[in-house]
Amino acid sequence: MAEISYRDAVTRGIAQEMSRDPDVVFLGEDVAKPGGCFKATVGLYEQFGGVRVRDTPISEQAILGAAMGAAMTGLKPIAEIMFSDFIAVCFDYIANEFPKSRYMSNGQTKCPLVVRTANGAGSRFGAQHSQSVENWCMMIPGLKVVAPSSPIDVIGLMAAAVRDPDPVIFFEHKSLYNSKGEVPDGEIVDTLGTAKILRAGKDCTIVALALMVPRALEAAERLRIDYGIDCEVVDVRSLVPLDTKTILGSVAKTHRLFTVEENPRLCGWGAEIVSIVADEAFYDLDGPPVRITTPHIPLPAADIMEDIVLPTPQRIVDTIRRSLGS
């Protein structure tokens, strides 16, 4: 058992899988010799050599296309897209190639690859380097989508993603790289499609992801102390497959749902979960299901502005308290 950072968990997760399986290769911009722009892959080049860990030109379409071709023919590539915003320059692979080739070929082709990318706000990088875009991927049939919130989940879900036979988009949160957590020694392998109840509660369900998880937990703690409201906090972890059982089960118990997401308002994963619950658990609900999101605006750069627009523990507290009428 050791306390390690979310950043180091990324390295360890990749190293665990590269050690295990010689078919795992890793490519991206400045990922090899330089160890990545977030220093999340330092040492992999030294450990696994330049044939398995490769720096590329600034050619995101080539990166994802190459990963796909390698995956189709037997390798298990991990490709880095430096910032998740850059998915926009190679979106054809995400939207039209990875997720459709197996289906279109009636099951002939495979695409076992992982795209890992730094997602989310908090670094004051402005509107083109701070977005939360996991919904860009969730909306595409044929992909799997993961976004861990803790070091142990990073390792376990990375292992699950690499071993998964389908294309997985793996969102790391920039503002979590420095966060720490206890991690057991030895191999860690988790399961895609499983949410975690991080805190049991009876008054309402808060569903959160990535950076919003610690904020939801903090809000839950304050709601308990200040208002005696007992929240259940669910870390979704995996948007596709989606663990609707855990979410619906929680709502069946608490009768109220709040989603906390960093996506801008429209068509985020919060909308999907609210819609599922509103449809399938309508009669469980004692009041409106409420989304807490970043407003539907591009992200401002300045710290004091960025801090306000993301859902904060305070905003979560206020929204839930008001909605529960306490």
Binding site: V25, V51, R54, T56, P57, S59, E60, Q61, A62, I63, L64, G65, A66, A67, M68, G69, A70, A71, M72, T73, G74, L75, P77, D92, Y93, N96, E97, S101, R102, Y103, M104, S105, N106, G107, Q108, T109, K110, P112, P141, G142, K144, D164, P165, D166, G193, V240, P241, L242, D243, T244, K245
Partner: protein
Amino acid sequence: MSTAKDRVPAGSGLNDDIGEKKRLELYRSQVRLREAEQRAFDLFLQNLVKGTSHLSLGQEAIAAGFAEAMVKGDLSFCTYRGHAHTLARGVPVEKVLGELMQRDNGLMRGKGGSMHLTSEEHGVMGSYAIIGAHLPIACGAAWRAQYRGDKDVSVCFFGDGTTNIGAFHEALNFAAVWKLPVVFVCENNLYMEYTPIKDVIPIPQPAADRASAYGLERILIDGNDADIVYRTAQKAFARARAGEGPSLIECLTYRHSGHSRADPAKYRPEGELEEWKKHDPVNVYRERLKQFGVKDDVIAEIDASVRKEVDDATEACKAAAPPSLDIIFTDVYADGGWAWRN
């Protein structure tokens, strides 16, 4: 107006490096592609081909020449205009027509459609309908070969218009820097959908005139002469297998039909088609065989057997059932299903 004959240096000539056996295969393959594509068109006019279809009529020498130079394990990456390349690797005509006709005997049982022909067992790693997308994918397959020390080559076919999209550039640079065993084949048929390529490039040859930007040799060939195509392919494959990196080959050709479906191709200047038909690859090759002394009845036998193959395939497809609906929800994911939730 000039055909390939005028625009590239000659280079076929009489030379028996290829040998009669291979020559007959090259001929049979071209006739097979011609007949199958012509049949696809006829079936389209009879409303038996649904959706769209993009024929390679007139471009058969390229598909045949490359496929004949490929060996088992080599991989083809095609576009929506991929029937010919798929057939040339040995996929049965019935499988291709079945897919076009959306029958249960189709290559992908109707799930993919004419633009996405795929037959992994024949090395046809897919047909891609978003312009340029498959060039980087072919790089990836070649990267795997390089990584594993496999000796196969990835061959990626695309059109003149595709040289202007970003993915082309990224793939060429990537392949050149990593010295990947991939061969990029530009079939310059002078047109994109309906717009002449010369209207949208500032250089005469869309691919060949860009090879130097990737440190590659300028290769421009007559794409209507299967011998030239075959020899060029062999050279490029040898280079790739020797670890010397990619090639970019521009083949001058012309499509006899419209871009897709029933496009009447009115945008072509009068006489252009006729001029190119004088340099029809199937005719060119039939004459070549004769020059080499192949007897008329040998040729006639090939023509007849191909015709029969296509006829039989057509009948089989007409008789085939529509695709069974239970495959709608299969093979989204590797577990065989489509569940995005538990």
